[in-house]
Amino acid sequence: MNIKALLAGTALALGLAGAAVAQDKTKVGFIFVGPIGDGGWTYEHNEGRLAVEEHFGDAVETVYQESVPEGADAERAMTQMALGGADIIFTTSFGYMDPTINVAAKFPDVKFEHATGFKRADNVSTYSARFYEGRAVQGHIAGKMTKTNKIGYIGSYPIPEVIRGINSAYIHAKKVNPDVEFSVIWAYTWFDPAKEADAAKALIEQGADVILQHTDSTAPQAAAQEAGDVITFGQASDMAEYAPMPRVSSIIDNWAPYYIDRVQAVIDGTWESMDTWDGIGPGMVEIGEITDAVPAEVKAEAEALRDAIAAGEYHPFTGPLNKQDGSAWLAEGEVADDGTLAGMNFYVEGLTGEIPQ
């Protein structure tokens, strides 16, 4: 039995060494949480992958695995890729955080890039986009457009990234429409068209005429289209097939420049572990075309807001802002720091309901 263990250990070491041998082509791996055809989150990451292929041509080879559950299976998928000779692996969902760290420890020569997480190592970088900047623009349009003053929000998981989006959208809706009310449904999934459609229908039945979503499929768009007179926003991807109604605008994640950048760093041998959190300014977050369903002056205001955020003149979390319980958070003119935003686990004042704890 000991010999067996020894053999297994030696084989593993050999395998690792084999994986580390320099090849002529740089191998770039991607782990996706949904199918590449989800039309949202994973779709855009895959677009980034295709951009890498196009940019580098024959110098790189990309591989991907889609619909990888967050947990033990993710660890295996990453190990498989590393054994297969990947030089850099992008793991594109929050739930891959621990698996990424675990696998990275076993493959010190492979670079890992984890999206939306906060754990780093010498060979693990993290990256995310400031989606909340886009949410501010959505909130503005939503507040102006709602007639029932009820805005429905399909949350995925009550994690800081999603809570930031809810807060940002609410703050900017409230600014232009003091009577606005948000109701949030937690779907506990990133991608499940049936659940997302149910959530959208429930919100519409409760009187919401604007649906915001932090889930990846187009099912809420379809539900809104069926109901009529309900507006939505593309999430993660443009979802332009639902324009001009119900989809009136969108947040588009543009990962391509980042992916090209990081792969280039691997090729040059200059890759270092770092944390990237970019927004509208550097182009990681884009606002999809605002359609004619939105009145011209609202569209102009929304675009002005977008440009002010991009230019760094305005921060979506600028005081005075209180927490939901009424306690003070940001004083007049004060801007939220990244640390608080990264771990945000509270609603701002005015939001009803509780974050599931």
Binding site: A5, A8, G9, Q65, P69, E70, D73, A77, P160, P356
Partner: protein, 360 residues
């Protein structure tokens, strides 16, 4: 016209050869599907069935086969006992979740104390959790004649909600700055389900699965309870005359399958998964139903079926990663396996009759 004639008893030959035939047919039909997708079918089939066992990186995949097959076998062995007696526990997924929650909760309650007693206590807690969750449909069935299929299935969704609540609330890692999910049990030595032989994938849950196979085999073939189970399944009327207590049988079968599913969840959460998270469960409880039938509800058969099922998962993932075969095609491939198996069952229970020539 070819006629089907029911066999007086299922054919032993076909009972054991249809799984092999089903695998071969799946390879052919799946190969055609892969070819239609523009992939080389031979390489695809080799990647799925050969590479994980004997390929270049088999040293890693073989261990993963055990990791994947362990919980499937452990759950399926328990389920098969009930299925044989005509007691349909469809909610193993829920019992698996509750077992994981209870096991992890006990472990986390001791954090950060170190003691050898913690892990055994977690195993007991996991088994108890699964057992109690299975007792709900069991008692409702014997007391109020409710349908255990529906109750156990619906309790899966209750368990999923409870899991989310636990990951966000009581079991959340207080040092994770607001992120959901418990502490990682793999990083807590006293509570970690480690590999018994490092590098082989052989963790305590796999050992438990093998022990369960042996026990189930002995119980079913050598013990009076096993006889009662088989009798109740084959002829409920005869069972009643034969002194089988149907109430006790329901409670026993549901309890055993629940306890084993709970243990599987506990081994998973303290081992490969590492932590309670919102979507910790990944369908083992449902896949185990397929494994139970694929293995003919026989412990040894389940052992082999579990390994085969694990192979289609591991190999399927490898085919995805190396050949870019879509995930949906792999699922369709697994679906074909079950489809052919059930379709071919007709051979075990019926025989073909050609009409005799010359008969008016």
């Amino acid at each position: 016209m070819i006629r089907l004639e029911k066999r007086p008893t299922p054919s032993r030959f076909w009972t054991w050869s249809t799984p092999v035939l089903a695998v071969l047919l799946t390879m052919i039909a799946g190969g055609l599907m892969f070819a239609a997708l523009g992939k080389n079918p031979f390489i695809a089939i080799k990647t799925i069935f050969y590479d994980p066992i004997l390929g270049e990186f088999a040293f890693y995949y073989r261990g993963q086969l055990l990791v994947k097959a362990g919980p499937l076998i452990l759950i399926a062995v328990g389920l098969a006992m009930g299925f044989r007696a005509g007691i349909w526990n469809i909610g193993a997924e829920g019992q698996y979740i509750i077992g994981a929650i209870c096991g992890a909760a006990v472990g986390l309650a001791f954090y950060p104390a170190e003691s050898w007693i913690i892990f055994p206590l977690m195993i007991v807690a996991g088994a108890l959790g699964g057992l109690l969750w299975a007792m709900i449909p069991a008692i409702l069935k014997v007391r109020f004649k409710t349908n255990e299929i529906l109750v156990s299935l619906l309790l899966v969704y209750v368990a999923e909600q409870l899991l989310a609540a636990m990951a966000l609330g009581p079991l959340r890692n207080p040092e994770a700055s607001g992120f959901p999910g418990s502490r990682n049990l793999q990083q807590y030595p006293s509570a970690a389900n480690t590999e018994i032989i490092p590098g082989t994938g052989m963790h305590w849950g796999v050992a438990a699965a093998l022990i369960a196979v042996v026990f189930a085999y002995v119980l079913l073939s050598r013990h009076l309870t096993g006889f009662h189970i088989r009798l109740a399944g084959q002829s409920p009327r005869a069972a009643r005359f034969g002194g089988v207590n149907p109430t006790a049988l329901v409670v026993f079968c549901m309890g055993v399958s629940g306890a084993l599913a709970g243990m599987a969840g506990m081994f998973e959460v303290s081992g490969p998964a590492g932590q309670i998270s919102i979507d910790f469960n990944s369908g083992y409880g449902f896949t185990a139903i397929i494994v139970a039938f694929l293995g003919r509800l026989h412990p040894i058969g389940i052992l082999m079926a579990g390994l085969l099922m694990a192979l289609t998962y591991i190999g399927g993932e490898a085919a995805q990663a190396t050949m870019q075969i879509p995930a949906a095609a792999i699922q369709a491939f697994q679906g074909m396996l079950l489809f052919f198996l059930l379709g071919l069952d007709v051979l075990s229970n019926y025989r073909f009759r050609l009409p005799r020539e010359g008969v008016a």
